[in-house]
């Protein structure tokens, strides 16, 4: 039943810029099981978007995947030809970008942008494709789809645009949806609607989804499992409940206390001290150690491995079993 859909092993994606090599993703391991929602959480610059772009192998220049494996349905995507990849992009794995006003092409009509995707992966006539496109717009709850389809992106609201971006992503019923902060750029009132829509569609079409976000609050109700990234590496990975109540990594803990919507329940809103480190010359050892209140000397010297401390619960911290973190939501003791 818990069949693995995607497994990333030791992924490294670097950007060769004038300032030096930016190690945006530096040894990331992730698993996604068929039909589940995985929350990929971290601050901006933690490498979550670059990880997602790497899965599709569309990292923009000067970024390059240096090493690692991306196993999708038992095949390594990094070994596939560009042509074979085109059969996977959009058809097997689809991507929803953060900002619909930049991810939809401003000079093409909605019809144009939906049709080309449908026709790229399905052997049907243009007329059928148009009917299908209108069907899709109905699916994502766009009013007057047969009128709106002839509009240009700038004629629609932000929420509408994101619905269209979603329609485009699910046009060929992919097995995996990569949603990169799909609600961050929307009004608060629209955010919940879009999340609900995505969750419904995911269930209806039986897709798996990686939901990328910086906000623990967003994944709390949606994700089955959560993987926390920090400075290009995985800190902790477990099912949602474990992350929220039995987190073992100090960074996960810090993230939880920094979420306003969660803090409201506990009046413990805290700001994580310091900034995300520079990824050209990252800190030695555990990358979180300069900001970590539990850091010991070992943390500054060695990089902690991601270790499975309980079935399905992995942590990359030397002190995971020594220190006793209290969840801001009450913690393991009260649960």
């Amino acid at each position: 039943m818990n069949k693995e859909l995607l497994r990333i092993e030791g992924l490294k994606t670097y950007f060769d810029t004038w300032a030096g090599i930016v190690k945006a993703v530096d040894g990331v391991d992730i698993e996604v099981i068929e039909g589940e929602t995985l929350g990929l959480v971290g601050e901006s610059g933690s490498g979550k978007s670059v990880t997602a772009l790497s899965i599709m192998r569309i990292v923009p220049s000067p970024g390059k995947i240096i090493e690692g494996k991306i196993i999708y349905k038992e095949e390594n995507l990094l070994e596939k030809s560009e042509k074979a990849l085109r059969e996977i992009r959009g058809k097997e794995i689809a991507y929803i970008f953060q900002d619909p006003s930049t991810s939809l092409n401003p000079v093409l009509t909605i019809a144009d942008q939906l049709l080309e995707v449908i026709l790229a992966h399905q052997e049907i006539s243009k007329k059928e494709a148009l009917e299908k496109a209108i069907e899709l717009l109905k699916l994502v709850e766009i009013p007057d789809p047969d009128v709106k389809i002839w509009n240009y992106p700038h004629q629609l609201s932000g929420g509408m645009k994101q619905r269209i971006a979603i329609a485009r992503a699910i046009a060929s019923q992919p097995n995996l949806l990569l949603a990169d902060e799909p609600t961050t750029n929307l009004d608060v009132t629209i955010q919940a609607q879009i999340l609900e829509l995505m969750q419904n569609l995911r269930k209806r079409l039986g897709m798996a989804m990686i939901l990328i976000t910086h906000d623990m609050g967003v994944v709390a109700d949606i994700a089955d499992r959560i993987t926390v990234l920090y400075a290009g590496r995985v800190c902790e990975s477990a099912d949602t409940k474990t992350i929220f109540y039995k987190a073992k990594h100090p960074y996960t803990q810090a993230l939880l206390t920094a979420v306003p919507s969660l803090a409201l329940r506990t009046d413990k809103l805290k700001v994580i001290p310091g900034n995300i480190p520079n990824l050209i010359e990252p800190p030695s050892g555990c990358r979180f150690h300069p900001r970590c209140e539990y850091a010991i000397e070992k943390c500054t010297e060695k990089i902690p491995e991601l270790i499975e401390i309980e079935p399905g619960h992995k942590v990359a911290c030397f002190r995971a079993l020594e220190i006793n973190l209290e969840s801001p939501l009450g913690g393991a003791k009260n649960n």
Binding site: F15, D16, T17, W18, A19, G20, V22, A24, S44, G45, S49, V50, L53, P60, S61, P62, G63, N275, I276, P277, N278, L279, I280, E281
Partner: protein, 305 residues
């Protein structure tokens, strides 16, 4: 996506505590084409500064005339050959450097003064002021400016047959008719800067408009002005060469354009007469263009790969 990358890089700059100009300087030093441009300009400035030492013959001497060596090919005696009356082409090229540099710098100065005033005022005040200034700018943008330049220069020479206003007049005319495009770019930049928070803060704190313009807006568009000035020098040198080539330049000055004009009458017989002055125009223009592009790359806060 680009935003993420920019954040990653800015982080590094923050940690090193470098100022914007320091970063620019570091990038500039790494930019090979910009340094090449700098080098070319340096050589030609050197040539102009020590022209009488470098040139084997005086500016008004015609060594070839008396020895019957007019339009003589390049030799050890005349490095670049001689021209139609017997000038040493190499010496003339050396003396031409200061004219080209003068026109370039002076015209660019006039252009950038006009463009900055128009651009900053239009962008800052907006509304009707902006509207009027931009309509005038558009006129100067569309006007066939070489034609107007030629007419003005001809009329001025006709008024004073002894040689008109000379190189200065040519420079002034180029300056007056080339500011429009730059004014538009500067205005755009001012509009961008005006949106930023600290300007709003300064306004809220009751700073006067002139003060905001000079203390807050101008320093923030300075990098654009520097780049445009460098590129304008290149353009002005090209325009002066064209005017001189058509015979509308200052007849009393030694310019590369005029040398080419005389040479074009007999390219077949004496290629050296035109090829060398032309080469130097190209070199100098290239120098300023490379420098300008290099400056743009190093001063532009946007991400450079």
């Amino acid at each position: 996506m680009q935003k993420i990358l920019r954040e990653l890089i800015q982080e590094k700059n923050k940690t090193k505590g470098a100022s914007q100009w320091n970063i620019a300087w570091r990038r500039f030093k790494k930019n090979k084409t910009a340094l090449a441009g700098f080098f070319i300009i340096g050589i030609i400035i050197f040539m102009a500064a020590f022209d009488s030492l470098i040139a084997p013959y005086g500016p008004n001497t015609i060594p070839g005339f008396y020895s019957g060596e007019t339009r003589a090919p390049p030799s050890s005696k005349y490095l670049f050959g001689t021209d139609y009356v017997g000038h040493d082409v190499f010496s003339q090229v050396v003396y031409g450097a200061s004219s080209a540099l003068f026109v370039g710098f002076a015209a660019a100065l006039i252009v950038m003064l006009l463009a900055t005033v128009v651009g900053v005022v239009a962008g800052f005040y907006g509304g009707i002021v902006d509207n009027i200034l931009m309509r005038i700018t558009e006129i100067f943008l569309v006007i066939p400016f070489l034609l107007i330049l030629l007419v003005f220069l001809k009329v001025i020479t006709a008024l004073a047959p002894s040689g008109g206003g000379g190189l200065f007049m040519v420079t002034l005319m180029i300056g007056i008719f080339s500011w429009a495009a730059n004014a538009r770019i500067i205005r755009g930049e001012v509009l961008r800067v005006k949106e930023q928070e600290y300007i709003e803060a300064a306004t809220a704190l009751g700073a006067t408009k002139t003060r905001i313009m000079i203390r807050h807006i101008l320093p923030n568009v300075l990098h654009v002005i520097i780049v445009l000035t460098t590129l304008m020098i290149a353009t002005a040198i090209l325009v002066e060469a064209g005017i001189s080539f058509l015979g509308f330049g200052d007849p009393n000055a030694i310019t590369w354009g005029q040398q080419l004009q005389k040479a074009s009458e007999a390219v077949k017989e004496a290629w050296w007469e035109g090829v060398f002055p032309g080469l130097f125009i190209t070199l100098l223009v290239l120098g300023f263009t490379l420098l300008g592009n290099g400056l743009r790359d190093s001063l532009d806060p946007r991400l450079r790969e």
